[in-house]
């Protein structure tokens, strides 16, 4: 379903009105087209797919019914008068039912038209419209199924009658077409002689079967899809390019993120961050450190590729705010990556607090101090030494 959803996602702006036209004809137009804004709604997409899917089924079943109905009606005319009555009955029923369904359909839509409620982000009109289309389609399928059953019943009855009267002749005259054969426009095997082309390649013969109708229409459908796709991208510009999709997704994500942060404890940045001292926070910071930081800074913060984190010397400042900032944005030129896309602000605060807690632990193999001396109160020191000079190696 997902796959099919994607086929139509881009083109649904064109598909939907087309579809409504085909299936609901005048009543649908009276309702006015669904507002385009709701077309990106996943529910609408899903419904459109279901509608299309059902429409295809209806189309195929319709062909079957017409084919079998016509076939039997014709044959039946030549048979007894009594049988003729039987065969026409379902046709009449169908027409009645069809009319009925249209009526039911019309009622369905008349009712909600006045309502203004919102259903899952789409207008109630659109909601009911979609539902009623699906409903009508299901109804149609039920009717078609019923008709097929009726025709199949006739076929059985007829077979029985004919079999009783003339067993020998029947086998060749009664078509043995199953719904599958009809679906694929297959000729009965015993009629193959008629469509043998007479080619013979090392004993291989070739038949002249028609193209399976669903295959041919499917081919046309894909060509139409291609046209619609290119049209929507390069003529009407209703479909987004890859870059536009990206920009839209980032915008949307930003909105969601801000909304979320507004009501969460995570709304921390480098200006508001405070040193955390609770054991749970330090433990959480340590857990992350042991997984993500140790390759460069060592298991105990002694420093390997990255600097020693246990001494009093800091390249980019040793306050909780500075460390938070370093973690958040990184120092790409020195090999420190930005972690803001990996960890939440709270997590960053926990890591920074853990790092602060390492001070003075004097681990084994400690790397020589790098950067400037940092003392807790003396935030004013940073400019005194050129930190890049000492850290040039990395």
């Amino acid at each position: 379903m997902l796959l099919i959803a994607n086929i139509f996602k881009k083109a649904c702006k064109i598909w939907l009105p087309l579809l409504l036209l085909c299936i609901t004809a005048v009543p649908a137009m009276a309702e006015g087209p669904t507002p385009p804004s709701s077309l990106s709604n996943p529910f609408v997409t899903l419904m459109v797919i279901i509608i299309l899917f059902l429409a295809i089924i209806i189309f195929m079943m319709g062909r079957l019914v017409i084919g079998s109905g016509g076939l039997y009606l014709e044959k039946w005319k030549k048979e007894s008068e009594e049988a003729k009555k039987n065969s026409t009955a379902p046709v009449v029923t169908t027409i009645v039912l069809l009319l009925l369904s249209v009526q039911v359909f019309a009622q369905d839509k008349a009712a909600p038209a006045a309502a203004t409620d919102n259903f899952g982000g789409i207008s109630s009109t659109a909601y009911y419209l979609l539902c009623s289309v699906v409903f009508v389609e299901l109804l149609l399928i039920a009717v078609l199924l019923y008709m097929l059953r009726v025709f199949a019943g006739i076929q059985k009855k007829k077979k029985a009658i004919v079999a009783a009267t003339n067993t020998a002749a029947v086998k060749t005259s009664v078509p043995e077409l199953s719904w599958w054969d009809r679906f694929n426009a297959l000729k009965p095997i015993h009629q193959e002689v008629n469509i043998d082309l007479g080619h013979d390649y090392d004993g291989i013969r070739e038949l002249d079967n028609k193209l399976p109708p669903w295959w041919l229409y499917g081919f046309f459908l894909t060509i139409i899809f291609a046209g619609v796709y290119l049209y929507s991208h390069y003529v009407s510009h209703t479909a987004m390019s890859g870059i536009e999709e990206y920009e839209a997704s980032v915008k949307q994500a930003d909105i969601e993120k801000t909304e979320y942060l507004k009501k969460s404890a995570n709304n921390i940045d480098e200006t508001t961050v405070k040193l955390l001292t609770a054991d749970a926070d330090i433990a959480a910071g340590k857990a992350v450190f042991q997984v993500s930081c140790f390759p460069c800074h060592g298991k105990n913060g002694e420093g390997i590729v990255g600097p020693n984190l246990t001494d009093d010397y800091w390249i980019h400042g040793g306050s909780i705010q500075d460390i938070f900032k370093t973690l958040k944005y990184g120092w790409a030129d020195k090999g420190m990556k930005s972690w803001k896309d990996d960890f939440s602000p709270v997590q960053l605060a926990q890591i920074a607090s853990y790092v602060k807690s390492l001070r003075g632990t004097n681990p084994a193999n400690a790397k020589a101090p790098q950067g400037t001396l940092y003392t807790e109160a003396g935030n004013a020191a940073p400019a005194t030494t050129d930190s890049t000079k000492t850290k040039k190696a990395s």
């Binding site: 997902l2 796959l3 994607n6 996602k9 297959l186 095997i189 080619h199 390649y201 090392d202 004993g203 291989i204 013969r205 070739e206 038949l207 002249d208 079967n209 028609k210 193209l211 295959w215 499917g218 081919f219 894909t222 060509i223 291609a226 796709y229 290119l230 991208h233 390069y234 390019s241 890859g242 870059i243 536009e244 999709e245 990206y246 997704s249 980032v250 994500a253 930003d254 969601e256 993120k257 979320y260 942060l261 969460s264 995570n266 997984v291 993500s292 390759p295 390997i304 590729v305 990255g306 790409a332 030129d333 090999g335 990556k337 990996d342 939440s344 602000p345 040039k392 190696a393 990395s394």
Partner: protein, 722 residues
């Protein structure tokens, strides 16, 4: 009407059949090897030739060009003679063709193992082998057309149409994609760079699937299926329509391998729509196959050949429906770079190509040895082992691909990526293990087949020259009744050749030429500069070790990729990349923005022992990079070649390029020393491959990082194609 007697040449067919068996086993073993390497990295052995990056091209080349390639020739040499009612045109050419092809395979395997690769997927073989392939292909062509021209049938059958289209298209693809500038006996650079190279490569790569793995096998299906089922071909009209539609449409679909990349938007869209239109023509072949079996399904239960053919055709149908679906951008956004693609291609490779080959083997070997199959029961066992193998292979891969992609794209509510790249890998490692079991089962099945066929050969007696007779071809045949218009061309193989060439050339011309000629397709970025000599050497190491087989260099414009890797890739960044290295699979993370992300020492330690820097990583270690020296004697040649290809190195720069190279080496060595790395066993490491590789890795993606913001924004708009 004079009846003529003649003999079919079975000997060449036999040799090709043996080659199919041999290379099939070799190719599958290589596949199993790399499948295991993905969850048990120690199997890489710390030895260059057995490492994933070199074994993987050996696997793909062996199964495509050796196993399926010989399968094509086996099937064509068998069926073409019988469809043309004549012996092959020249026994000598048959012999040259056979041995030439086997030599190419051996040379290919050896050069790939020793790291000689052009770095373009499925076209890795270096220029001397490329030339050999072209020559052998011409020999094959002469032999094939010679046979067709001296046929005793007035018309050529649909199988032969497919053979003709195959021949002409593969020739075109191979020649255009392999254009490269040699700098030494086994080293060359692609003529094309960046976006253009990518387009040419995937125009080739996609149509290698189409015209090496699909059309010739459709031809084989059109011969062996009706023969084995003893049923007429279902629909001649369908043959005509699906043949022409297939070859015309297929060629356009290449760009679907490059969706959301820096390829111009219009080319991507063409790739999408032509892929969708490809469903029906592809399925035409499947329908003509399956409907031909009408009235013979009872035989399918009995006859192993038909069992294999039916599953092959079904897999073909599934793969050719899935392919277009994967070409839809929104599906591709999920599937691309993941194991989903691996699953998809293996439905085709194991199901369609593998099973069809097995079916043909089970058919022709008893026939040529004038006996019956040794054991139908064993063939049945092979069938079920193989089928279960395929299922066990593809299901974990679909699962792995989908899961990993979803993990990549998951953000926390705070807007952070939820999973580190490595977490998404370790999560799917169990799936890799199951996959290798599936692959192993499939291989076991192949061994059962080999045993069965050996026994069959032993119980029969080989008919090297099979007697046949047919009336001579009358020069002027008057059609009895009104004929199909298409019958006209079926009597004219040369016109067929020309028309096929036109049909397949159109798509390529429309997509390639504007990408080369219209400047706005690749907006230039002024901060993008040519590689330094050391970086060029490093890039060669990167290509040699097949890094591109696991690491992409293409950040797609997705929120998660930009968050994970950095700014999305722009067309203008790759203008000096001969060849491009965008990759097609992310077993490891993308590297397009890896430059400057880690210190030099990180890379140094990581390449030596990846697990030390990223615990749980499945990357192999590369200890030989710490032994190998960079060949500085090649530097002037490299600079010269790049300038020839349009990279703006100053005239005469090749003579002092090595000075710059040494300076940069020293810079990296100094930085390593700063992090307590002072060489291997105290010896200087300046000239080792690892230093060059670090130089290259630290460069990737840096040009755009140093670019002023406004400029990148502009080039981003340019890519949008407004």
């Amino acid at each position: 009407m004079q009846v003529e007697k003649f003999y079919y040449d079975n000997k060449t067919v036999k040799m090709f059949a043996y080659a199919v068996l041999l290379w099939g086993i070799v190719g599958m073993l290589a596949g199993l090897w790399i499948a295991i390497a993905l969850y048990y990295p120690s199997i890489n052995l710390g030895f260059a030739p057995t490492t994933f990056g070199r074994m993987r091209p050996v696997h793909t080349n062996a199964v495509i060009f050796a196993f399926v390639g010989n399968g094509i020739f086996m099937g064509i040499y068998y069926s073409l003679q019988r469809l043309c009612k004549t012996r092959m045109f020249s026994d000598l050419l048959s012999k040259i063709h056979f041995w030439g092809w086997q030599l190419i395979i051996v040379a290919g395997a050896l050069t790939l193992w020793t790291g000689h690769t052009s770095g373009k997927e499925y076209a890795e073989l270096e220029w001397p082998i490329d030339i050999a392939i072209a020559l052998v292909w011409v020999v094959f062509g002469i032999n094939m057309f010679g046979t067709i021209l001296k046929r005793r049938e007035s018309h050529i059958y649909v199988a032969i149409w497919f053979y003709i289209a195959t021949w002409v298209t593969v020739a075109m693809l191979h020649i255009v994609n392999s254009l490269e500038l040699p700098i030494s006996f086994l080293k060359s650079y692609s003529m094309y760079a960046g976006v253009q190279d990518a387009l040419v490569q995937w125009w080739y790569g996609h149509n290698a699937v189409a015209f090496f793995l699909t059309t010739p096998y459709l031809g084989l299906m059109y011969y062996f299926l009706p023969k084995a089922a003893n049923r007429p071909i279902y629909s001649y009209r369908l043959s005509i329509i699906h043949f022409w539609a297939l070859i015309f449409i297929y060629i356009w679909a290449g760009p679907h391998h490059l969706l959301y990349t820096a390829l111009p938007d219009w080319a991507q869209s063409l790739g999408v729509v032509f892929s969708i239109m490809l469903i029906a023509p592809s399925w035409g072949g499947m329908l003509n196959g399956l409907f031909t079996l009408r009235g013979a399904w009872d035989k399918v239960r009995e006859e192993p050949v038909l069992k294999f053919l039916v599953v092959a055709i079904t897999c073909y149908g599934m793969a050719t429906f899935e392919g277009p679906m994967l070409s839809l951008k929104s599906v591709n956004a999920i599937s691309h770079f993941t194991d989903w693609t691996i699953a998809h291609v293996h439905v085709g490779a194991l199901g369609w190509n593998g099973f069809l080959t097995f079916g043909v083997l089970y058919w022709i070997i008893p026939k040529m040895w004038n006996t019956t199959l040794y054991s139908k029961k064993l063939a049945g066992t092979h069938f079920w082992t193989g089928t279960i193998g395929i299922i066990l292979y593809v299901i974990p891969m679909y699962w792995a691909g989908f899961t990993q992609s979803m993990m990549w794209k998951t953000f926390t509510e705070e807007g952070q990526l939820k999973f580190q790249f490595l977490e998404t890998v370790t999560h799917i490692v169990p799936m890799y293990a199951v996959r290798s079991i599936g692959g192993a089962l499939y291989l076991v099945g192949a061994f059962i087949m080999v045993y069965n066929l050996i026994k069959t050969v032993q119980q029969g007696s080989f008919v090297a020259d099979e007697a046949a007779e047919a009336p001579a071809l009358e020069k002027n045949i008057v059609p009895h009744s009104k004929e199909y218009w298409h019958r006209w061309i079926e009597k004219r193989p040369m016109q067929m050749l020309v028309l096929s060439l036109i049909a397949v050339a159109i798509g390529g011309v429309v997509e390639l030429i504007p990408t080369f000629l219209v400047k706005s397709n690749i907006p230039t970025i002024s901060s993008v500069k040519p590689y330094t000599p050391l970086e060029l050497h490093g890039r060669d190491v990167y290509i040699r070790e097949g890094c591109y087989l696991c690491h992409s260099q293409m950040v797609r414009p997705f929120r998660d990729e930009v968050a994970r890797y950095g700014e999305y890739s722009k067309a203008g960044e790759f203008v000096y990349d001969h060849p491009f290295q965008w990759g097609s699979k992310r077993t490891g993370p993308d590297l397009a923005r890896v430059g400057g992300k880690y210190p030099d020492s990180w890379h140094y330690n990581h390449m030596m022992d990846p697990q030390s820097m990223s615990p749980g990583s499945i990357m192999p270690s590369y200890p030989w990079l710490y032994e190998d020296e960079v060949d500085t004697l090649l530097t002037p040649k490299m600079i010269w070649a790049m300038r020839k290809l349009g990279v703006p190195y100053a005239e005469g720069y090749e003579y002092n390029a090595n000075d710059d190279l040494r300076l940069q080496q020293q810079k990296i060595v100094t930085s390593l020393q700063g992090d307590k790395i002072s060489g291997v066993n105290g010896k200087p490491i300046n000239n080792k491959s690892i230093i060059a590789l670090i130089a290259y890795l630290q460069r990737i993606g840096m040009d755009i990082k140093s670019a002023p913001k406004t400029q990148t924004a502009q080039s981003g708009q340019g890519v949008m194609g407004n």
